[in-house]
């Protein structure tokens, strides 16, 4: 292992391991919903698998990958990681915490899904383990900020590299988001699971969860955007179309991605419709930076095609390196996001939301967004990172080339089927689409198509894990290639308004305080009774 990148590589390694286990859990669910028999199929295994899949994918795979990517970028773009010792302690905390939570899940003691809504109660170690992972990510954020400040002292008046700008924005957003989670888990769930308090308010806990739960998706998406803006144009052989708009995009996410959580609670009592409307406005506003991204990235790719000599309107598309696993993965991830983004706009409109809320549509939706836009970008990025981190050549190149296309085919079948099944009313998270045994007819054709998609996805996931493992163990040793980042058509010469992190952080905190402060405090005006714990699994 290349010593400079051992921290990054360790984090990516944990991410891939979590991904492998989670993928197996995923395919089991799709088979179960479609009533396709397999050994040991049972209700408890199904709900255990939903929990393990959600926690390992949404929390462990993503967080570890993003931490690893952050360290790699800090090392390369800033030339340093300030606080390596602390970073390794954080790694151990995060790994230990994730393992503890995973053990309680796999033992069937915490089948509460990754949303862990009380009054359903998991094993205390589930909450404590998850907390340790979050604490690890807080330390990671601190190390990243310390590295930036150390670099800044040596480089006054120079604009921060775009990749670091994006990561710093991600970290600010993450601190804002996890503040809500900390209140829920430290203030409510852990004392309650240890028996220190007997009752809990499910609605308050749920609101704090979604304070965290929606910006969580931008915590995943922003590092993917960092890769789209700073690596993709270079791999494609072109230049970044607009550096300043990229910075604007990252700052808009800091401002707008937290005060939106009520769009997950449109169907909840206890929150007034006017506050739901406020969060609707911010939810649509946060689509805006993604629209801008679509233009900038596609324009950058067109620049790449034209630099290679393309003429006419569309020739440049064919000149792009579709055989490069990083490029193919990211390009397909972006195509998926056009569908995912418009699906999100539908979910955010509450009249339409009530047709799809908590149906299979939602499963279809977040598998094109998180499950493809983010996950496929991270898979492609792994192919880009491994040779640079490890000093080893990618092995099984053909498999790596096919893998993103396989994923795209799988997700198309999977997500389109579940979107339609959801429109036809199939409730979410059911062991069997026939429910009690009598209701399968309307949905089974679709759930079986989705199961075929899931099997293809699993094969693709397996290919990814095999390529990573083979490269790690037996990849030919080569001098590590340089981390080459895209150059902007008009590189910035001085830090601009979008580099003023202090200002934007203050504004973001104010927006969160306004959009959550009143509606949550308002709840305290009512007699709230609280609920005792239940463990129906």
């Amino acid at each position: 292992m290349n010593g400079r990148h051992s921290l990054a590589a360790a984090h990516v390694g944990v991410a891939v391991a979590a991904f492998a286990v989670a993928s197996a859990m995923g395919v089991l669910q799709a088979l179960s919903i479609a009533d396709i028999p397999f050994p040991h199929r049972s209700e408890s295994l199904y709900y255990l698998a939903v929990t393990a899949h959600g926690v390992l994918m949404a929390l462990v795979f993503t967080t570890f990958f993003i931490m690893g990517l952050g360290y790699a970028l800090s090392q390369e773009s800033l030339g340093r990681i300030t606080g390596r010792g602390l970073a390794w302690i954080a790694f151990a905390l995060g790994l230990g915490g994730s393992a503890a939570a995973a053990v309680t899940i796999l033992r069937g003691q915490s089948s509460v899904l990754y949303t862990f809504y009380p009054p359903m109660q998991a094993h205390p170690l589930f909450y404590i383990g998850a907390t340790l992972l979050i604490v690890a990510s807080w330390i990671w954020g601190g190390v990243m900020i310390a590295s930036y400040l150390s670099w800044r002292r040596e480089h006054p008046g120079v604009p921060v590299p775009l990749s670091i700008h994006g990561m710093l924005a991600t970290i600010i957003l993450w601190y804002l988001a996890t503040a809500g989670l900390a209140v829920e888990v430290l203030g409510m769930l852990i004392p309650w699971s240890l028996g220190l308090v007997t009752k809990i308010d499910p609605l308050l806990a749920r609101s704090f969860f979604w304070w965290f739960g929606h910006p969580l998706v931008y915590f995943w998406l922003m590092p993917a955007y960092v890769l789209w803006y700073t690596v993709l144009p270079r791999v494609a052989g072109g230049k970044l179309f607009s550096d300043s708009l990229a910075r604007m995009v990252f700052i808009l996410f800091v401002l707008l991605s937290v005060p939106v959580g009520f769009h997950h609670q449109f169907a909840d009592p206890g929150i007034s419709s006017n506050w739901k409307l406020v969060h609707t406005v911010t939810t649509y506003a946060v689509l805006y930076p993604s629209f801008v991204t679509a233009f900038t990235i596609i324009a950058s790719l067109e620049v790449a095609g034209r630099m290679k000599g393309a003429r006419g309107l569309f020739d440049w598309i064919g000149r792009l390196p579709w055989g490069d696993p990083f490029f193919a993965a990211v390009a397909l991830a972006m195509i998926a996001f056009t569908f995912g983004g418009f699906g999100g706009a539908i979910n955010a409109a509450y009249a339409m939301n009530s047709m799809v809320h908590n149906t299979a549509w939602i499963m279809g939706h977040f598998h094109v967004t998180l499950g493809t836009t983010v996950a496929l970008t991270f898979m492609g990025a792994t192919y880009w990172l491994l040779p640079r981190m490890l000093g080893r050549e990618l092995r099984l190149m053909t498999l790596a080339r096919i893998q993103p296309y396989l994923w795209f085919a799988g997700i198309a079948l999977f997500s389109i089927s579940y979107h339609i099944a959801g429109l036809r009313g199939l409730p979410r998270r059911v062991y069997s689409a026939s429910l009690t045994g009598e209701y399968g007819a309307a949905w089974h054709g679709l759930t079986r198509l989705a199961a075929v998609g899931a099997v293809i996805l699993f094969l693709s996931a397996l290919s990814y894990v095999v390529v990573v493992a083979a490269t790690w163990i037996g990849g030919k040793r080569i001098p590590a290639p340089a981390f080459e980042f895209a150059v902007a058509l008009r590189p910035p010469t001085a830090p601009g308004v979008w580099d003023r992190f202090g200002l934007w952080t203050v504004l973001a905190v104010l927006l969160v305080a306004v959009s959550y402060g009143y509606p949550l405090l308002h709840l305290f005006a009512y007699t709230r009774y609280g609920s005792p714990a239940f463990q129906p699994f």
Binding site: E43, M248, P269, L277, A345, V430
Partner: protein, 159 residues
């Protein structure tokens, strides 16, 4: 900030599209009162059996002819079950949970709300098509979550 002309056009167009989306939501919210279920009312989830309304959840007709249905969701059923309501009349559902969080989704309609212990969800729906509807729980509530179904019977209004 120097932004290319085409990109500027795109940015204005994207902004316009979002305003259009939001305009549609604001207009229908303001003019047609299309709102998500957002009632605020609390209830003691550990004392539902002795509660005047939720102790005996049932369908009741008010003096003005509108219908109120009180529903308790619990692991793993809804009461009352089946629920019988008339077609083409506003039906107000009042919904709560006796244990964990449940969902209440009348399949094929836009009646879809969460049942959260300690709170009362309230929303009004008019069913136009008489017939039998499946009510499904769409929030994970335990090992037999998928078995938690109920029946809604919409009866043709007697003339």
């Amino acid at each position: 900030m120097n932004v290319e002309l085409y990109e500027r056009i795109w940015m204005w167009a994207a902004g316009g599209l979002l305003l259009l989306f939001l305009g549609a939501i604001f207009l229908t919210a303001g003019l047609q009162a299309i709102q998500p279920p957002s009632h605020i009312e609390t209830v003691d989830p550990t004392a539902l059996t002795t509660h005047p309304e939720f102790g005996t959840p049932a369908v009741k007709t008010r003096a003005d002819g509108s219908v109120v249905v009180s529903v308790v969701a619990q692991m793993f059923s809804f009461s009352p079950d089946p629920i019988e309501v008339p077609a083409n009349r506003p039906v107000t559902f009042r919904l709560t949970s006796a244990d964990v969080i449940h969902g209440f989704e009348v399949v094929g309609t836009n009646a879809n709300a969460m049942a959260i212990p300690g709170y009362v969800s309230q929303f009004t729906v008019t069913f136009k098509e008489p017939g039998e509807y499946l009510i499904g729980c769409n929030e994970y509530c335990g090992t037999m979550h998928h078995n938690m179904v109920g029946k809604l019977i919409v009866k043709k209004e007697s003339p």
